[in-house]
């Protein structure tokens, strides 16, 4: 198969700098820095001083055009769906491509069940000796639990919800849980379009590291530095062949010349960290989406999994 030029024709983002791709890029341009807040769930713990990125409120149901689907969504799924929908609309994905021609290449972060949803389940399952009882879990805990909880914790659900929402029926991959993996998802998308395996791809990631239990893991494993501000965030992009975009007079943000994911020996720079916070699995897609909008020719970051993710972009003809 001939390798074709691949261009970015759609971007969508939800970050602490803005709840759309344009808002995020505008905020970056003007030098804005994320706001942080403390988590009440961690007050009084050794991590009470950890600050997390603040996402501005937005009406997800309005953005997605559906209130019903939201009840199945974890926060990661919600952020992913909103960003993917924005990117898909931007590129006219549904209007221009058959569902079978479009692939989905997603990254996702550490699992993050909502503490408030899980605590009642545990409460019902504690016996008279103060110990967790699986017998009581079966008798009282499970019946008291929202059956939709399973949908909110399964790691593939964010991507599946995107496929359903956007009507994507082509091939898919979901990689987890760090930057190198979601960088690989972007690389696979680029290669799948270039090789002709798919006509278009929607690729990106969502992550919610600002979840209390996740923060504990990040601290324990040494991933979370003293000054890091973890941020829940998402970015998705639509990639397609340059000739298709030109044929349809579709706006092209940039041409992707390369996506490289390479192992490195130690920590390295992450240009997003100081401005957007540590978005972990979502970071590579955010970086690419910013690069596409701000006409950067090169962009790279080093992930917490000792991988360097590097993009080279060219001008779209």
């Amino acid at each position: 198969m001939r390798n074709a030029d691949v261009v970015i024709t759609g971007v969508g983002m939800v970050t602490p700098l803005g709840t759309t791709a344009r808002d995020t890029a505008d905020a970056w341009r003007t030098g804005k820095v994320l706001a942080g807040r403390l988590l009440p769930e961690l007050a009084g713990t050794p991590m009470e001083d950890v600050s997390v990125g603040v996402l501005a409120e937005f009406d997800a149901a309005k953005r997605l055009g559906s209130r019903k689907a939201i009840k199945y969504m974890s926060e990661a799924a919600l952020l992913g769906c909103v960003a993917a929908h924005e990117a898909a609309l931007d590129a006219g994905l549904r209007r221009r491509f058959q569902p079978e021609e479009v692939g989905l290449f997603a990254g996702t972060g550490l699992a993050a069940a909502d503490v408030h949803q899980v605590l009642p389940l545990i409460q019902e399952s504690i016996d008279s000796n103060g110990r967790f009882s699986t017998r009581l879990l079966g008798e009282r805990g499970l019946p008291a639990t929202d059956p939709l909880l399973s949908f909110r914790i399964l790691a593939n659900m964010p991507a599946c919800l995107i496929s359903i929402q956007e009507g994507i029926k082509g091939p898919s991959y979901i990689f987890t849980p760090w930057e190198g993996q979601s960088g690989a998802a972007l690389r696979e998308a680029w290669q799948a379009v270039a090789s002709g395996e798919v006509s278009a791809a929607i690729a990106g990631a969502a992550d919610t590291p600002a979840h209390p239990a996740t923060l504990v893991y990040l601290r324990q494993s040494g991933v979370l530095g003293g000054h890091d501000v973890p941020s829940n965030a998402s970015a998705y992009l639509v990639l397609e062949r340059a000739e298709t975009a030109a044929r349809d007079s579709q706006r092209m943000y940039a041409r992707i010349e390369s996506v490289e994911v390479t192992p490195v020996d130690g920590a390295g720079p992450d240009p997003l960290r100081a401005r957007i916070g540590s978005a972990f699995a979502a970071a590579p897609a955010i970086l690419l989406a910013l690069a596409a909008q701000l006409s950067w020719r090169e962009a790279s970051l080093c992930g917490s999994d000792r991988c360097r993710i590097a993009f080279r972009l060219g001008e779209a003809a």
């Binding site: 050794p46 699992a111 103060g130 017998r135 079966g138 593939n156 359903i164 029926k169 190198g180």
Partner: protein, 412 residues
Amino acid sequence: MRRVVVTGFGVVSPVGCGREAFWSALAEGRSGIGPITRFDCSAFDVRLAGEVKEAPDLPEPVAEVAAEDPKVGFAFAAVREALDAAGLNRLDSRTVLHLGTSLEIFDLSKVICGGRPDFKAAVGRSLAGGPRLQFPLDTAARLIAEEYGRPGESLTNCSACAASAQAIGHSWRAVRDARWEAALCGGFDSMINPLGVGGFQMLGALTTDNDRGPQACRPFDAARRGAVLGEGAAVLVLEPLEKARAEGKAVLAEVCGYGSSLDAFGLSAPDPDGDGAVRAMQGALREAGISSEAVAHINTHGTGTHLNDEVEARAIRRVFPTWERIPVAATKSVTGHLIGAAGAVEAGACLMTLNRGLIPPNPSLSKVAPGCELMHVTGRAARFDGEYVLSNSFGFGGQNAALIFRRYDGRA
């Protein structure tokens, strides 16, 4: 493009650990399904699973993690067997490690402090060196890299029940296209824990037909009531044929086709027409460059749930006009559903079928359900001398994958 062959296979499963034990149980239709012993499930509606009976022998750091997250130990043991079989003892920068799995383990008891759920106290205890609250899904890959060396790339795929089939398919393409010189690929999983079993019970995906014991998982049977969870791991070593021949390695089979698709239909129910499954199988056939008539055996996804079995049977009949002459297996009938590891374990069953000339039976199938008509192998294993076999994996949420393996003819 290079031809790619399987030079190593390792497996940990409810019917046996190691490929010989695994295969003899499959070929004899011996079920690994029984009462859950891992925890007290007496008050659960679901009380059966396919548990791994032998704890793998593991080095200290892996054993420590596996004590809390058993699937990590299964992955490690399967990797060790696969590498041994392929005559490899290190991973290097020319190798990709790609494993599929489904979900992190959640141990609810860890957030109980002083007799009540107390997240803040649990945080303090955990940070003071107490139990970890999370084990990321790449934990197994990191421990494998620590023991065997860092691969050129490490990928963890979480596409539910299609995860490990995707891992194999993706790795096959990567070796075929010379992006990597070798791949260690497959999957590992265990959902046999209180929240795993409870979560699937809440979804209504599992059988509550506990009295049926070893025969509770009944793919394509009129009396099927749902899936049974299993656990384990399976890992394949893929290498270019030319290299395998040059090094005189035993070849288990050639990988020659992979298809992937999304249903975009529903979170828990498959597309009733089976369109997504059809596209995955057609994609694999197209990539293998063969017609549907060339496929001589299909290892079905066959979960034992009402909708899935009927939809899969319909999809197979659509893709294979000669379906009445293609014997099918449903190995989940004896292993249970290994979720993220299912595709790799069933790929392993296909490798063994090609090498041993037998198709394992579906021992719990006594009356084929209306709509599930296929050429089912029941009772005893069937003789097999075909060239191509296909393995289906369809994930919860609508992710589909199909793999095609070919008998290796010994020729370059």
